[in-house]
């Protein structure tokens, strides 16, 4: 997927002015935070589980090569074909080849952020395939030609009215007199359309929340059941997962499952959690005839030896963005690529380069809520700061800003100069602002005064007054 992250500021401005988007964000986002809080309160072991989850992933990452080999062995034993994809292009080619060999015409898809990352849909469509997203949120944006704006609620930015308008515009068989006011009616319409696709698909592609080395299984979680229909009905099932989805055992998956839904939506568990191992067995009356697992690297292995390794613990719950003041103000599209919010701010520079993605780690107040709610204890603000450090060392920080910082730094390093300077400057500023108490405009401070008044300084600095105080001069 092409990135528009360099246009972050313009994207954000557009998002802030988008009344439809703002309404959608204000209706959905606060609820997700509240529900997670309630779910956490309902499970006393939650914090201890976070620590366990972190340990499981850290151990797995430290032995990732061996767990991948073990997974491959067991998955192959169960009848799957395992393919490794070093790059996005490899993944596209491998999957297109599988579809070609299967003589596929229709492909259904469960939700997969990885498939967004590698631009799978466009590639398969270019090869003449009909690709149908079956996760309702993904379907809603697919028919609009949009990309997901949230990693678990991809259509969070759409209002009900927009959905109705889209259905009327695009569902050819939809009669004009059909009532589509209630969400139930809209869902029923989507269910009807997609059921046909489920039943006629030749290939079903799903992502994976986890890959389990012990058994060679892949795990998906949904509330809709679309992932299951995607992987059970067609002749061919393809699992597309990235390398860091690996966990060692079923028990390890239990720990992560206890954290995932609670962090994502506040549910105790997703309605459907499915463990799949290979194609249909002898005697199975249903299930795919062939199962392929495509394991993608696409730059993740390079993170393993760096400080950014910790971001590979992510289990894609979306809690970070649900709690982020920046994400909840601008939505996901402003981030310009596949992964939005705090996780996107750390992962995007890693996968497409800090030069293209520079705004993302910078557009954070470091409030720390993301790290606080991350079930895998990823130190997201710290990792964003690392990106800022890389940017600074590379000389990529905007020039004006760099110069301002340099000026401030050179003065701050010299207390005597600093104090002499501010001792002179602040009383002047203070006098200018004394009548009103605040500045509505101030040269060099437009970034501030554009939206806020700037408090006038009281006048003399604390150090100046303190020196007087010590000398016995009354205040």
């Amino acid at each position: 997927m092409r990135s528009t992250s360099p246009a972050f500021k313009a994207n954000a401005r557009a998002a802030l002015a988008d009344a439809q988007l703002q309404r959608a964000l204000s209706e959905v986002a606060p609820g997700l935070a509240a529900r997670r809080s309630a779910a956490r309160a309902g499970l006393p072991e939650f914090e201890a589980l976070r620590e366990r989850g972190r340990a499981i992933k850290d151990h797995t990452l430290a032995h990732l090569d061996l767990y991948l080999e073990e997974f491959e062995r067991k998955a192959t034993e169960a009848g799957s074909r395992v393919h490794f994809a070093p790059t996005a292009e490899d993944a596209r080619q491998i999957i297109a080849a599988i579809c070609r060999e299967a003589g596929a015409r229709i492909v259904t898809k469960g939700k997969s952020m990885i498939s967004e990352e590698v631009g799978l849909n466009a590639h398969l469509e270019g090869a003449g395939l009909e690709v149908v997203e079956t996760d309702l949120g993904e379907y809603l944006i697919q028919i609009r030609g949009e990309t997901p704006s949230h990693i678990i609620a991809p259509a969070i930015h759409l209002t009900q009215d927009q959905v109705e308008a889209d259905f009327r515009r695009l569902h050819k068989g939809l009669r004009k007199d059909r009532v589509l006011i209630e969400p139930t009616q809209l869902v029923a319409e989507a269910r009807q359309i997609l059921r046909d696709k489920f039943l006629s698909a030749d290939v079903g592609i799903t992502g994976a929340n986890f890959l389990i080395a012990e058994t060679g299984s892949s795990v998906i979680v949904t509330n809709e059941g679309n992932g299951d229909l995607t992987q059970s009905l067609p002749r061919v099932h393809i699992v597309l997962a990235s390398i860091e989805k690996m966990v060692p055992t079923l028990e390890d998956a239990d720990t992560l499952i206890r954290l995932l839904a609670r962090s994502a939506t506040g549910q105790e568990i997703s309605t459907y959690t499915t463990f799949s191992t290979g194609p249909r067995r002898a005697g199975d009356p249903d299930g795919p005839e062939a199962c392929h697992v495509v394991i993608l690297d696409n730059g993740r292995s390079e993170l393993l030896g760096t400080a950014f390794r910790e971001v590979l613990r992510c289990i894609r719950c979306g809690a970070c963005m649900n709690h982020c003041p920046v994400y909840t103000a601008i939505g996901g599209h402003a981030y310009g690529w596949v992964y939005p919010g705090p996780i996107g701010s750390v992962l995007t520079p890693a996968l497409i380069g800090v030069h293209s993605a520079a705004h993302l780690p910078n557009a954070s107040t470091f409030c720390g809520r993301c790290e606080e709610v991350c079930p895998m204890k990823i130190p997201l603000p710290g990792l964003m700061r690392h990106w800022r450090e890389e940017e600074f060392s590379a000389g990529d920080t905007p020039l004006l800003y760099r110069l301002g910082l340099k000026a401030w730094a050179s003065i701050a390093r010299r207390p005597r100069v600093y104090h002499a300077l501010v001792r002179t400057l602040m009383p002047v500023l203070g006098a200018l602002g004394r009548r009103t108490g605040a500045f509505r405009h101030l040269p060099l401070a437009r970034g501030w005064t554009k939206h806020r008044d700037l408090a006038a300084p009281q006048g003399r600095t604390f150090q100046a007054l303190w020196a007087d105080h010590k000398a016995g001069v009354p205040r």
């Binding site: 003041p325 470091f366 409030c367 401030w408 701050a412 970034g447 806020r452 604390f462």
Partner: protein, 256 residues
Amino acid sequence: MGGSAGRPRVGLFVTCLVDLFRPSVGFAAVKLLRDAGCDVDVPVGQTCCGQPAYNSGDKATAEDLARQTIAALEGYDYVVAPSGSCAGMLKVHYPVLLADDPAWKARAAAFSAKVHELISFLVDVRGLDKVDARLDARATYHDSCSGLRELGVREQPRQLLRTVKGLELVEMGDAEVCCGFGGTFSVKYPDISNAIVERKAERIAATGAGMLLAGDLGCLMNMAGKLSRQGRKIAVRHVAEVLAGELSDPAICERP
């Protein structure tokens, strides 16, 4: 070690914002510390904690300022700052910054152990459980992010505020949600910062409070600036000012 007659010696890290914009907060802090039985000094070798540089990726400058700050203040029994974000920088991030410097690693760790945010110092270390202040007002309190998440400052200011005679404390919705300041963020991404502070202003106004308090001057200037621009008549002060009864100066952005 130890000041006059067993009184602990506190080195006050006054913070650049207080020094430059609102010294009354510094004096309020001094009063509170003295009333809590401490001797207070404010060494001149301090300027800025280095957070603007640190958060901009300029580690070299941040390290220099860290060494400077430690050198100026490590000789005291305690180092106290009227700011959760500056105290957090000194306590949590200095040891990380200087971890690879063999000459400074131990000094930074020892220094960190002495650092406290002002209100949590008064309550958790000095055992203060009430103040002798009065203010007839309805106030709401904003939890600044660093103080809350890095240093666990949440109950302590509320505890003390509840002992201020005449003060009614009301909680705002989303008190723990960021105000949108984020230091340089507020000027680098002003439109997003504005969207966040507008939301915060709504929460503040919804309490019906006539006063907003917090423990960080950056947050306070951000919120006061927004409330003022919106023409809302809500007095904004640092919590230390109210606890010390230092209310003679106009509130932040208040027309005198």
